[in-house]
Every structure is written in C-alpha cells, then in structure tokens.
Symmetry: none
Subunit: 183 residues, 2 copies
DNA sequence: GACGGGATCGCCGGGATAATTA
DNA sequence: TCTAATTATCCCGGCGATCCCG
C-alpha cells in the first residue's frame, strides 16, 4: 500500500464515485481509470489462479472476431468480489457480472443476443425489443454497455443465462462454471 | 490536500503516466480520469509534494479503517449524553449524533453519501440535492458540517441509517450497535 | 392555526413458484 | 396423458411520503 496526496476537489470527485459502502480508493480509481481489478488477490475465496492464464488464451482465439482487445486477462480480473458481495440480490450481481463480461468482450458481446428463451428474448440492444418479446420481463441495461437483459426469471434461470453467455464468449467449461457460480 | 491509500500496482500505473518531471499525483489522475484541471487555484507552481512515498502514520486510512485521527477515543467521547437526552425528538438526537460522527471523521464523511434508499438520497452536500431526490424529504443540515440529511422517515429507518453510517465509517459491529442505540 | 415529528399505509422490486406450453 | 421447459403471476419484504398527532 502506498499513499498519494491529492487536492480536495479531486478527492471529492473520487469519493463521490464510490459504488458501495466501504469501497476502497483503489477500487474506485481502478474503475474510473478503467484498469482491471488487482491481479493478485482481492478475489478472496474460490477462483483458482490458474484459471486466469488459461482464460487469457481462450479469449484471444475466440471465434471470428478481430480482437479481444484485452491483453492481460479474464473476466475474473474485472470482477470485484467485494462489490459483488455488496449487492442486495441476485439481480445486482447478475448485472455486475454481465458488465464485467462486456468490458472484456465488447467486440463479440452481441453474440449473446442469440441466447433466448422459447419466445422471449433474453438480450437485446434496446429496452423496447425486450419489452416487446414478453410481458413484464423487467429489462435492465447492462451497466456501461449498450445492451439490455431480461430480469424477470428465477435465480436458476439467471445462472443458466450466465452459463450460456460464458459459452457464447468461448470460455471452457470450467470457467463457465466459475462464472455461473459468481451469482 | 488529502491523502488516499492505494495498492502498489495502481500506484505504479499512475506513476508511469507522469508527463513531466515533478508532476503531482492530482495532475496525473485528473488526466487519467479525464477531469478538468482544478477550477480554483492551487496550480501555482510545481513545488507540491508529489507522489509521497509512505506518508505512513499520519495518514487517515482510506477504507474500512477502525476510527481514525483521534488519539483519545471514539465518537463516544464526542457525544454529550445530557445534550442528547435533552432533545425533543428523534430528529434532534439524530442530527447531534451525525454531527459528532462528522467531527471525528470529517475526512471520510463523504462516503456516507452512498447510503441511500431505493430512490431517495439520504445524505448529500446540499439541501437541493436531497430535495430533488424525493418529495417532502425534510432535509436538515448536519450541524457544523457541509452535509445534509433527509429527515422524513420513521425512527426505525433513522436507526438503520445510523447503522449504515457507522459501518461506512469503519466501526465494528458492536460500536455500530451502540451508535444506533444512541438514538 | 401552523409546524415539525414520525407511524402507517401504499407502492415497488425481487424472484419463487404456479401456470402454461411444447 | 405425462414430463420437461419456459413464462410471468403474485407474494413478500422493503422503501417512500402522506397524513395524523402532539
């Protein structure tokens, strides 16, 4: 840990970007600067270190896309466990996980729009599309992304959706499971 | 000037973005965050203590630190029991308790602004902000502080708010409970 | 009166589970 | 018909702000 000195105004600006009570300065700054979560720890429980390496490779080679644009890592680096744990319910975590996935895979992310239910859409580029595909689907925007998800489903289904998203983005089964279990 | 604590990796990242010798942490961060140069003055010369290495002890811990900067005790020393008892209703006590907390934690106090309801703000730096976030929220200024609180809520909710404030300021659960029970 | 406090009641969001369809 | 898959209704807990009381 290091200490840096900053002016009042900047301090206020940073503090005002706190996303959950007790969030550390590092966590806030990383978000503002768009730097991933600290690589070493912070991931607390589960998440094996090796997964990180494997995933990095997987990601880059993933299907037809031009780029994966992210040099150093898997989604797991983009997820702040503290922040996740902080969420009220499954919906908050669900959105946070999807936001992290979007950050890492923004290029291919639109492929998730193919994941859908029998007659409802699950993902789309607008609220209206989702709303039109079913009734009271409770669409929510995936934070910091142009995509929307349906939110009216039980937790089991949300997990299935995450599983499908993980597969669509080219993760191996082990990682897919880990992503699913974040929720 | 304020001090914040950040992890090594982030520190390196910031330092590596220095654009001229002697550039201050604030200046670098403003650029990275894309925030304009400080409005007021302060720009003056270069002679700021830049990135300070190990400002160590004096520094107020940034995140969930147990209390801070006050050598001889916790909030409890800053609360005058008689004055509390003398208040007409819960609102008076509520404000008094918050004022005491502000006195002890003025540095981090702004983090309480993150405590909020479903759609109302609970704390803010101005009456207007609170008023705008809901209707008849009855904002009151926390005495001798630049912060405001919402006052239209039942006692139970005021207690919950105190509980959250205690947590946000890093008190342990026992102290949090004691703070809550002051009301 | 009128003013401030805050209990109470209505509304909203989450998501388990009942209903529906393949 | 029976089962599996999917939808979306509806109950519950939590929050807001109206409105009653001191």
């Amino acid at each position: 840990m290091k200490n840096i000195e900053i002016d009042e105004e900047l301090y206020q600006h940073i503090a005002s970007n706190t996303q959950y009570i007790g969030e550390s300065a590092s966590s806030i700054l990383r978000r503002l600067i768009k730097l991933p979560t600290e690589s070493t720890a912070d991931l607390v429980v589960s998440a094996e270190p090796k997964i990180v390496e494997e995933t990095a490779k997987e990601v880059v080679e993933t299907q037809n896309s031009p780029v994966a644009l992210d040099t150093n890592g898997s989604v797991f680096n983009y997820i702040n466990k503290e922040e996740l744990a902080m969420q009220r319910g499954a919906v908050g975590r669900f959105l946070l996980i999807l936001a992290a996935l979007y950050r890492v895979h923004n290029q291919q992310f639109s492929t998730v729009c193919q994941i859908r239910g029998r007659d409802r859409l699950y993902f789309a580029a607008s609220e209206a599309e989702l709303a039109a595909s079913g009734s009271s689907t409770k669409p929510r925007q995936i934070p910091d992304s142009p995509f929307w998800v349906i939110t009216n489903s039980n937790t089991t289904r949300k997990k299935m959706m995450l599983t499908e998203v993980g597969r669509a983005l080219g993760y191996n089964e082990q990682d897919v499971e880990d992503i699913r279990d974040l929720l």
